[in-house]
């Protein structure tokens, strides 16, 4: 079933090379459309190309790409302008404008395509390759075209790198320092349409969106720098293109485009879940750690308030219900927190000899920790009331969250600002 020798066939090399070049173009411009939050406009352009191709064919009667590509380019670009016009001149939002343009252009394209097919015009077969792509049938001519387009795109982005960067991150600023943003946007959308028009021949209308979006969205998780992001996007899409194109030859009757997309999506989903720093797993763990820390600090603080109400601070023993009276904590949560605090040596547990009840007390370190949190809480309240003049009954909730994140450096600055106030914990 698996026959690797087929990969040495020159036709196969054309396909792999073609897919590779097309992916490089798509992911480079895709990075900019992604950053400008216009990814789905790429989807609309991909669909809007179909009627352009059909019209060009009807007018000229040939499948010569020199006629078809300008047609495709025209309707593709028109679709971007129409989405902008609809959102600017009516209350229709961008998502609906994209859907309208996408589905109507595509519907018209399908209608024209079927009209052509039923009309018996010569030489019409193969036009529908644009619907699903014809990656497996790429020729050396296609590879040359893809290569030239890729070079053109990269050269244009190289030349206007600074302008495009500013346009993507801060359009208003770009405008204010005298960049012709409208012209730049026109150029960038032209490049996007160009990448889509070529890419669509390999993977088809529907899947084109993936080649634009997925590499950029994946790369975004690994870096904050634009040039690194473009580099990673190109890398990911190249690897996907090579794997996807190879699979379709190694396993018989497998389509190329969908496999490229599957590899891209796999990279994207794995990144979303496992990427260090920004991935779902890492953020979930971080969140859990914060919640645990907050719970523990809150328990220590409550213990500390309790000890302040009794005169003999060293020998204060409490039941769990005493804590719950002060602070609404679920029993399971409280138990978990207490166990962790006992392990860390902040709380000690004893059993009352008479009543056989479990009693808890703060250790010396626990007392210190509880005092620290209560101190930070009060410090923040003071800062809000004294320095920012916020009403005293509005500051408690804010202090409840801030007390867990104030660092010693911030604490010192707050104390300096407030003139090293004497802080007595407020007993609740």
């Amino acid at each position: 079933m698996f026959d690797l020798s087929i990969l040495y066939n020159p036709n196969v090399l054309y396909v792999i090379l073609g897919c590779l070049l097309m992916s490089v173009s798509a992911s480079t411009v895709g990075t900019f459309t992604f950053l400008r939050k216009k990814s789905l406009i790429g989807d609309a352009v991909a669909h809007a190309i179909l009627p352009g191709i059909c019209l060009a064919f009807i007018l000229n009667g040939t499948k010569n790409p020199l006629y078809l590509i300008p047609g495709a380019f025209l309707t593709g670009w028109l679709s971007i302008l129409l989405v902008d016009a609809i959102t600017h001149h009516s209350k229709i939002k961008q998502d609906a404008a994209i859907s309208i343009v996408l589905s109507v252009f595509f519907g018209t394209g399908i209608w024209l395509l079927t009209v052509i097919q039923h009309s018996g015009m010569d030489n019409q077969s193969g036009l529908d390759a644009f619907l699903f792509g014809k990656a497996a049938a790429l020729t050396s001519f296609d590879v040359w075209v893809f290569g030239i387009v890729a070079l053109l795109l990269i050269a244009a982005i190289w030349a206007f790198y600074k302008e495009f960067q500013l346009l993507s991150f801060d359009k208003d600023f770009a405008q204010s320092i005298g960049y012709k943003t409208q012209l730049l946007e026109l150029l960038l959308s032209g490049l996007t349409v160009l990448a889509i028009v070529t890419g669509i021949q390999a993977v088809g209308v529907v899947l084109m969106a993936s080649l634009l979006i997925a590499p950029a969205a994946t790369a975004r998780f690994w870096t904050d720098k634009l040039h690194v992001m473009i580099f990673i996007a190109i890398l990911i899409s190249s690897v996907s293109a090579i794997i996807g194109a190879s699979v379709s030859y190694i396993v018989p009757s497998m389509p190329t485009g969908p496999w490229i997309v599957m590899v891209l999506s796999l990279c994207a989903v794995l990144t979303f879940i496992f990427a260090p720093g920004r991935g779902i797993v890492v953020r979930w763990l971080k969140q859990r750690r914060n919640q645990k820390q907050m719970l523990e600090e809150n328990i220590l603080k409550t213990f500390y308030y309790l000890t302040q109400t009794t005169s003999d601070t060293d020998k204060a023993y409490y039941k769990l219900t005493d804590i719950q009276k002060q602070r609404a904590l679920r029993e399971s949560e409280l138990n978990k927190g207490i166990e962790a605090l006992i392990r860390q040596g902040y709380i000690s547990r004893e059993r009352d000899k008479g009543t056989k009840q479990e009693l808890y007390s703060l250790t010396k370190e626990g007392l210190q920790q509880g005092k620290r949190v209560a101190h930070l809480h009060r410090l923040w309240e003071l800062y809000l009331t004294e320095y920012l003049h916020i009403a005293p009954d509005h500051v408690h909730d804010d202090a409840e969250t801030i007390e867990h994140v104030l660092t010693p450096e911030l604490q010192k600055r707050l104390e300096t600002i407030l003139g090293n106030p004497e802080i007595r914990p407020e007993v609740k």
């Binding site: 229709i92 609906a96 519907g107 920004r278």
Partner: protein
């Protein structure tokens, strides 16, 4: 008779989808509807493999399940993963669609589905597949299926109208008075999935998007009230079906494609007309002042 069945099919698809489309347009979620319509493909293929025929109940349920999964994944990557919403939509639906195409290629011998049919359906053959009970024909199967879906949509939207409109216009207030925003989100999305799957064979995965969005958006241009928006969108949808049918008949092209074109033309006329009317109206009020 064929013309009657075809137009009726178009009208049934358009009626269900324009009602749902109004909510999608107002919730700014039309692209999620678009994503669902593509993503149900693997569900349709798998269900078809198991059931061995089209239009089975299993197919509808299986594929609608994938539609809901799509909605969930888009939300999940967006909310939990901090992925930009447009990217989350784009990646999710292309993955499912690619999976569907791969499944079709892999099971090509067992699955009588082709890719063209997925993209633009074949409404013209609706009347070739009648519902048979015993030896008696009870009209096209698709009509029964689409009527069932339309009734389902009505059965949910009419009693749930207040909750749906509240969660659409003011989700915070709805939440405050105890209406679950999440629940109604998923109810709406289930209906969208159901409609998409039931319509896919007659109008195809992509053209159902035209019916979900275009009539609703056309109506949205003309009115502020939800009820009149729904009624107007159905009217525009029905008009588009009828005009589209005769356009296709005249030009010998795809009926579904022509219907989408017709809905686009209607949108264009209303859009331009509204602009001209507004400009004229403004001029006259200015000159009166």
């Amino acid at each position: 008779m064929d013309a009657f069945w075809i137009i009726l099919t178009g009208i049934l698809v358009v009626a269900s989808s324009s009602i749902l489309g109004c909510f999608l347009v107002l919730r700014k979620m039309t692209m999620v509807g678009d994503a669902i319509s593509h993503a149900v493909l693997p569900g349709i293929v798998l269900a078809y493999l198991f059931a061995g025929e089209r239009n089975s109940i299993l197919m509808i349920i299986g594929a609608s399940g994938i539609g809901l999964l799509t909605t969930f994944l888009i939300e999940f990557f967006h909310k939990k993963g901090n992925v930009q919403e447009d990217a989350s939509i784009g990646i999710t639906f292309t993955s499912f669609f690619a999976l569907g195409v791969i499944l079709i290629s892999y099971f090509a011998e067992n699955v009588d589905l082709d890719q063209d049919c997925v993209l633009y359906g074949e409404i013209a053959y609706v009347s070739l597949d009648p519902l048979l009970i015993g030896d008696i024909e009870y009209g096209p199967k698709a009509i029964w299926l689409l009527s069932f879906v339309f009734l389902m949509v009505l059965a949910v939207i009419i009693p749930g109208y207040r909750s749906l409109s509240l969660t659409t216009f003011d989700p915070n207030y709805a939440q405050a008075i105890g209406i679950s925003v999440t629940l109604w989100h998923y109810v709406l999305m289930s209906l969208v999935s159901l409609t998409t799957v039931a319509s896919f064979e007659s109008v195809g995965a992509i053209l159902v998007v035209a019916f979900l969005t275009v009539p609703a958006a056309t109506a949205y241009l003309l009115t502020e009230k939800l009820k009149s928006m729904i009624l107007l969108s159905i009217l525009f949808g029905v008009l588009a079906s009828i005009i589209g049918y005769y356009l296709a008949d005249f030009s010998n092209g795809s009926i579904a494609g022509a219907m989408a074109t017709a809905s686009g033309i209607l949108f264009g006329i209303v859009f331009v007309g509204k602009r001209l009317y507004d400009r004229y109206h403004r001029l006259t009020t200015v000159s009166q002042n």
